[in-house]
Amino acid sequence: MTPVLNLFGFNLDGMDVGILIAGTRVGFIALTLLGALLLTRAGDSRGAGRVVLAIGALGHLSAWFATMFPLPAVYGTNGSMDRENHLGWANVVALGFSPFRTFQVNHLHFEPLWPFLTALASGFNVDRVDLVFQWAPLVMGLALLFSVRLAWVRGLDGSEENTTGAAFAALGALLLMAAPGDFSGLFRDPWALTLLLKPNHALGLVLAPLAALALARAGTWRTRLFAGFVLQLVGWAFVIHMALFAAGLAVFVALAWVTQRSDRMKDLIDTLTAVGANLVIVSPYLVMLVVGYPFLQGSDNFRLSPFTERPFEGPLRMGSLFLLSAFGAWTTYRSGPRIGRILASQWLAAHLIWQLFPILGLIGQAREQDEAFYWCRFWTGLFAGVGMFRIALLATDRFRNDHGQRPARRVAVAAALSLVLLAPSLLPAWWDPERMDQYFVAASRPLPDWIEEPTRFMRDNTPRDAVFAGDRVYARWIAAYGARRVLLANSMNAPKDAIRRREIEGAILRDDSAALADEGRRRFALQFVLATSNGLEQAPDLTLDDLASHRNLEPVYDRQFPAMRVVIFKIRYGDDPS
């Protein structure tokens, strides 16, 4: 029997996954306690921030390892449509096609950055895309940790208190964004859904604190434009994060006016310039978004009951962590530095926007709720870390030595206390993907043979530029596992010319219009049709045998699996040599 290997190349046969995952949890707790012990034993508070940051990095590493190591395939495959779409898109970009086009041939899309980066990281080798998907969550998590810390440290003075606070902000942003009960909620675990499933969205989170730092430092036209440039990078990574961040900047300016700050005009000019520059640079993207994605059309899918529990779910599901985050955001805003005010405004804006969803839901526009929820959690986690540390500092401030002075190691002691009290809530301490993560469970199972074998055939036996028509449900697997483009896929939004594509496809399937078929070859380079015994939704009357009887379709793969029969036809055009 062939051994089952994970993407690291280790044999998974006989591995006790439960023990492995429990080991990472216990190891993380032990590490956190050891870190706290080191802090209390240290001679002074220097390096406290580094210890906290190291715990954050190792925590993310252990949770990532616990999730990825037992999997024989890419996390999220065999279960998540989004993940398979992304994999398919990255595959076709790695094959050398434009990152501006999805795996639906010639279909314009508005998120080109991630597939391009993925393809680049794979060296434009489609066989390495799986590995990039495997490692990207780890890299993004560590990048998030360091970007939050960098923004915080560079924006504030370099005191021990601030550097340690920066480390807690980073730790919280990464490991406090989820709570143990999240798995049972509608939006599930924000850490897994953002870092593991959609690391492209995590890239938006990585860039957001850097955009805040750029704006905090802006003071001249050049630096304002630079802030706009950094902000537009957020947009290319994930446009929703850019919009949410811009909303946070609006709150930042509004708060400056409400609190009658003397520098409010500067805040306004800097923000307007940065957002304006961002909009100018990102305008092609926005055009693509408007053209390619009908996001202004209301839908019953995005309607919410007036009695929805959403308003409470965002803030209150975190319990005391929400309170800590409110305290952290409040004290950060009051402390004065601009970076603190910008970041705290983001916290407030995230929660205000979340409260808008029930209203948007009344008109069928409560779309992308999950992304707003995760954004809310990101800022809540970030400031929960800060809030805990500030409270611990307040507590240690009450202790005085014999001379009535604060203890010299108060920052280290406060950091140690914060670590211990936060430990039970840090994700690596309770993360159990076997029970909490449906995508982990799905990816643990082997790919069904009726997907695995035909898609392997495609990789090995069809040209790299082959385009498939036919089964639109199967289409995403053609891209994700077969690394080939398709004409239409149910898993993607419909291209603008979807009606014409359907006409062309119909002509090929029924062999009734050579002109349309020829257009299919010319415009879309259609070469193959894949159909299964489940039938085609666009031509339910056609059986596999009907298709095989057509002169323009030549079966090149035909296999009966226990679940279904899968047939791949090569399309013959009129002028093809017979």
Binding site: A179, G181, L316, R317, S320, L323, A395, L421, M436
Partner: protein
Amino acid sequence: MIGLLSDFRGIASQEASIPALRACLVLFAIFAAIAWTRRRPLLALLVLSTGGLVGLGYWLIQIVSPLGLGTDPALTLVWAQAGVSALAAPRGSGFVWGTPAQLSLVSTLASVGAPLDFVHVVPQMAAFMTLVVVMLTPFAFSRNRTTAAFAASLALGGGVWPGVAPYGSILLRPSALLVGGGLVGILWMAWQMRPARRALTRFRITAVVVLTAGAALDRALAGGVEPSVAGGLLFAGLTLVLASPVRAMLRVASSSAAGARRAEALTLLCVFLGSGLAWWNPARSIADFGEARSDNVALLRAMDWIRGSVPKSSVVLASPAYSASIAALAGRRVLVPPPTVGDAPRTALPEPFRRLRLVESVRLGHPIERLADAFSVTHLVLGPGEPNPEIGLESPTDEPRMKLVLVYEDVRDFRVFRLAKK
């Protein structure tokens, strides 16, 4: 009353009513917060505890059959033993013939004469009692009633750490409440002694650190979506310990007494609504919950018949799939252990070959009289889809045989045969 409960159960079992429950809990929390800001801490606690009872009750009234029977290996054995301890004779025997009785809270209650219907709701009562214990414990340790009310209000929603409410784990391991209650009692007795009280107060921070580490490690080791019983109770206890320092911090951070009260009220609101109880959904977090929502009327009808018609001292022969149900719901001992027992106890059963021989002779329609008498087996139970014994075959003549007489049959294909002398 039963009809009303049934109506509530019908409403609660609908997914659409969950937001209504949560809206209700939000209202309770808001009223409690208002009461707290108006210097009515006990009223606030009363309102929150009512909310807690509503939140727990919503889920617990949906449990209509023993939680975990047939789905959780450990609980299946507990329920099977409880049924036999309550209804079979002799009461002290194990539910599988020839094995010793297994000790647990519910089987002990059953063996001392508690009605079986009462025994079946012990987990639900334990969960309710946990809420009551958590609510009352601070008053035993603190002379300041406001601080005690604050501690109780924080803990009853699930504590200051989100997602670690102990109710789910207590539901699965109700006996642990006795251990937890016993520990609280010992601590209370120590608290009455001044030196011990001083020591506990002096080392409070160390105790918090050690207990937090212990609770986190316990949770990490156990894994799963619900904390283990020990972890859940430790977190609740820690919340009680931390309540006083939290109040002190809120006073330090606030500019006035009224501000401190508002901060306390906000804390109560957020912790109650975020710590677990308000978002608890055992239908997703407890694997056996869905099964326990179904009363399985078809099975119960057959089990009721067995309970009323098969002598208490009888041993029933059934396939492993129905052994636990017969023991738990009909209260009769069985010859064959349920499959959840696993291989090890099965091989440890006394006289495995004679058991097997009897089973085989019954399958062939001619039970061996000597073995049936030795094991006290009087009835054979077959479930839906299980084939009837091959009654038509000629009886062997090697030793005295019995015959099988069909005494019960229903539309769901449950059948009971009596082993009768020829």
